[in-house]
Each structure stands twice: as C-alpha cells, then as structure tokens.
C-alpha cells in the first residue's frame, strides 16, 4: 500500500451558489506523480488550488470537507496558511516570474522564510541545477527574469518552488503555454523531481499524462469519475466516460 501524502475527503467547493466540486475523495501517494485530467471546466484546476488554499483570494469561494497534508488539516484555522504554502509549492499555468532578477526570484522565498544568509547562494545554485536551468543562466543571474524565454521562465518557476524544499508540488497545466521542446524538458524534470517530491499535475495532454504519471484521476463536471493507476486508466478504464475521454472522443 502506498503511503498517503495529500488527501481530500468529502470535498465540496462553491463559487457563490454554484457548486464546482462535488464530493471529492482522493488520496495522493507520496513521491509519485498523480495527474488530474478531464475536459475544460471539470474542476481539476479548482481542486488543485484548494490544496494550497489559493481560493482564499476569491471572496465568493466556500469549501466543505477535509483536506489533509499528512495528518495536518489544511483548512483548520489554527494552522498557518503560510506554513502550509511553504510545504506545498505550486507552479502555475502561465509562467509568473516575480518582477525581479533571476537570482532574486529564487532567493526571495529563502529571505522571507529567514534562511541563514550565508546558505542562500548555495541553495539557489542547487535549485537551479536541479531544474536544469543553471547552465543556461549562471552568467546572467542579475538579469530580469522576464527577459528569459517562456520555457526558461517556467523552469525558473519550478526552481523557485523547489528551492524551498517543499513536500508537495502542485502543477497547474505547467506546459500549456510552452512549445513542444520546452514541454519535453519540463516533463523530464518532473520525472526526476518525483524521487524527492510528491507531485500533483493538472494536464490537458493525454500523451503527457500517460508518459509521466503513476496515478491518474479523471474528472468530469466537478466529480472525480475514476481514480486509478495510469496503466488502468489508459488501457483498461472501468468507466464509460473515462474510456471515451482518453480515447479522444470528447473534450
């Protein structure tokens, strides 16, 4: 049996009166890649964003149910949202580097979390190496991050997340804004990162989900229709909807 890192139990989420997520129960195994797939608007990004409480920003979002990181209740008001987000990193659909230099994009989180000053340069370097960006940027660390190409920016955003050594990395369609070569690099990176991190990734791309995932959840209209190993979902789905979706019949 896999060790469970992150879980949702009886999760309902509303935006205003609209119910977006309907009774979701899901367990993400430790140090594996789990993909969430499904047609646009099925709630996969919404589900992903509820784990690091990104919906706190939306005034009309309301959440019921229990979400846990190990045994920690993510929505318990006693627990620090800052601490949770430090432990659960996130990479967004569109690269969103901070309006700072490449170096500062990585050192920023280390500084606010009060890492010892003398360790920071070393941590920045190793995170950039881990994200396979070091060779490309080592001579221009003082350049504004927005000057990088889209693919480089996204790897920078991954490095920025990795530098904090989170336990979980949430990725919201990290390749959708990138060209095939950049996407491929990021996929390789994900395969390497999963040795140390629990990764949950939302993707539109079936081939990608098939290549990188250990487990796959298929969502439709706010419900988790099927959750199984990647092999079963793609080769032997139990549900008719899943079969049609992965077979390319809709979505």
């Amino acid at each position: 049996m896999d060790e469970i890192k992150l879980s949702a139990h009886a999760l309902n989420l509303y935006f205003g009166n609209k119910k977006i997520l309907k009774n979701i129960n899901i367990d993400f195994p430790k140090n594996q890649v789990t993909s969430l797939i499904g047609p646009s608007g099925c709630g996969k990004s919404t589900l992903l964003r509820s784990f690091n409480r990104m919906h706190d920003l939306s005034p009309d979002a309301r959440i019921e149910g229990t979400l846990k990181l190990d045994e920690l209740d993510i929505y318990d008001q006693k627990n620090s949202v800052t601490e949770i987000r430090k432990r659960i990193g996130m990479v967004f659909q569109k690269p969103n580097p901070l309006p700072k230099t490449i170096y500062e994009n990585l050192s920023y989180a280390l500084n606010i979390h009060k890492f010892p000053k003398n360790e920071i340069p070393q941590l920045v370097e190793s995170a950039l190496k881990e994200s396979y960006l070091w060779e490309e940027v080592k001579d221009e660390l003082k350049k504004p991050a927005v000057k990088l190409s889209g693919g480089q920016q996204q790897r920078l955003c991954i490095a920025r997340t990795v530098v904090l050594r989170p336990e979980v990395i949430l990725m919201d369609e990290p390749c959708s804004a990138l060209d095939p070569i950049s996407s491929h690099k990021i996929e390789e990176l994900i395969m390497i990162l999963k040795k140390n991190y629990t990764i949950v990734i939302v993707t539109h791309n079936m081939q990608q989900a098939q290549r990188i995932s250990d487990k796959v959840g298929f969502m439709y209209l706010g419900e988790l229709v099927e959750f199984d190993t990647a092999d079963n979902i793609f080769k032997n789905p139990a549900n008719e909807l899943t079969k049609n979706y992965v077979g390319g019949h809709f979505g």
Partner: protein, 281 residues
C-alpha cells in the same frame, strides 16, 4: 439634397463643438502667456515682493506653494495608498467596504470651500494648529485623499492576480506580497495618479483661505506653524484685492503664467511616467 444639408449641419454641430472646446484652452493659454511670459524674469521668480507688492517678485509664494504641496503629499499619500491597499488587497466585499467606497465617492464631490471650513474647525481650532501652512497642507490632504485612493486602487486593479499568487504560493504573507510585488509593480500607476492629484491641490485656493494663507508676509517664512503665501492666492489677491489693481496687472499675468506652468510641469511628469510605463509593457 436636403439630406446633404442636414448632414453638413450635423458635421458643423459636432466638429464645431469640439473646436470651441479646444478654442477655450487656446484662448486661456494665449491670453495668459502672451501677456505673462514677458513678466517672468529671474528677478520675478527669485525676489521678494516690494513697494507694497507693486514691484519685486513672487519668491515667497512659490516657496509657500511648494511647502504646502509637500505637506499635503506627506499626509495624503501614505494614508490614501494604505486605504487603497486595504480595499483592493485585504478586504472582501462587505457592507463595510461598500460604506467606505460610498464615503470616498461622496468625499470627492464635496465642494472645496467646505473642506476649508472643516480644516478651520478641525486643524486650526480643535487641534490648535492655528492658521498655518501645516493646517492648510492637512486640509488640502483631506481634499486629495479620495482622488489618491481611487487612482491607487485603479493601479492596483491592473496588477494581475497571477503576480500575487506567485509569492503567496511560496508562503509569503499578504503584506509581504503587497510590499515586494504588488506595490513595486503598481508604482508607476500610483505615481501618475498622485502627481495629477497634487497638481490639482497646488492650484487650489478655497481650502486654504481660512486655514493659513496670507496676503503678504514680511520676508520669507519656511516654518510650518506660520502663515504663508501661495501662488493661487497671490493671483487672486493681485487681481481683486490690491489697491492699485491696474498697476499690478503685469505681475498678476506673470503669476498666472508661473502657476499654469507649474501645474503643466506636474502633468507632463505624470504623462511621461505613464507613457514610459506603457511602452515597457
């Protein structure tokens, strides 16, 4: 044929209106500058008034206006930005924020002379600051507050949420996100709004009438608890209150020119910041 005449008439109506509006500005600038620019000499800018203000310069009025605007800035900018940050970054829409927003909109519509009365009652009398550049600056600060809040909030609204999510997802607190990402990104927009508001404040007369502006001050005062001279009031005084109005008319034109140039300078700086920022995006 009839249709053609109608159409021609409509053209005259619309284009003519636009031309008249432009002419207003043209006439204002032409009359003031053609008669005023020749009065602007180094002596006019840098000397004290002399001979019962029939000769000399407007140096104390320039200094007074600068000092006044400075006090207004120190008071209104932090306050206004803080309020905009609360409304746009922290607050969820609620009864309270609706009341705050309604207050701000209504404050913007209150006649400036009423701010003058309020400044008199609050700063001059209740806080016992006396009629002084401090009281007048604070009064102008109150007047500027709703504009600074509104323009700052607009600048904050233009920052996409993805910027905020970037730092929040790293475990930054909301304040750290505001301080390190949102405000630096919004700075050009905030600055543009602040400068335009201040240029308006610098040209205001009614709110400072009872709160500290003086007809004439012997010498040069830069103390914040003393009365002061200011360009707009100096112009008002030279054109209506002086005993030999015709004789000082060139000085009045000169003062009007300096005032308008000062205000335009503010505006040009604001436009430059806006333009430079736009071309960067």
């Amino acid at each position: 044929m009839k249709k053609k005449t109608r159409s021609f008439f409509n053209w005259i109506l619309l284009a003519g209106s636009t031309i008249i509006v432009c002419l207003f500005l043209g006439i204002i600038l032409f009359d003031i500058f053609s008669k005023g620019l020749s009065s602007i000499t180094w002596n006019f800018i840098s000397a004290l008034p002399s001979d019962g203000m029939t000769k000399g310069g407007i140096f104390p009025a320039i200094i007074g206006t600068i000092l006044l605007t400075f006090i207004t800035t120190l008071f209104a900018v932090p306050f206004g930005v803080a309020c905009a940050v609360y409304l746009n970054e922290y607050a969820r829409p609620s009864v309270l924020t609706n009341i705050i927003r309604a207050s701000i909109r209504n404050l913007a519509g209150i006649p400036s002379i009423i701010y003058g009365l309020f400044g008199l009652a609050l700063f001059v009398q209740a806080f016992k600051l006396g009629t002084s550049v401090l009281s007048a600056g604070l009064t102008l600060g109150l007047l500027s507050l709703p504009y600074i809040i509104t323009t700052t909030e607009e600048a904050l609204k233009r920052i996409p949420n993805s910027m905020r999510e970037a730092t929040l997802a790293l475990g930054a607190t909301q304040f750290e996100t505001i301080k390190d990402v949102v405000l630096p990104k919004a700075l050009p927009g905030i600055l543009t709004g602040v400068i335009l508001t201040l240029s308006r404040a610098a040209g205001e007369t009614a709110p400072i009438l009872f709160t500290g502006v003086a007809f004439y001050i012997n010498g040069l005062s830069t103390s914040i608890n003393q009365e002061f001279m200011a360009l707009p009031y100096h112009l008002y005084m030279l054109s209506t209150q002086h005993q030999s109005i015709e004789q000082v008319r060139p000085l009045a034109y000169g003062t009007a020119s300096v005032l308008i140039l000062l205000v335009f300078m503010f505006n040009i700086i604001a436009f430059y910041i806006r333009f430079k920022h736009r071309s960067q995006d």
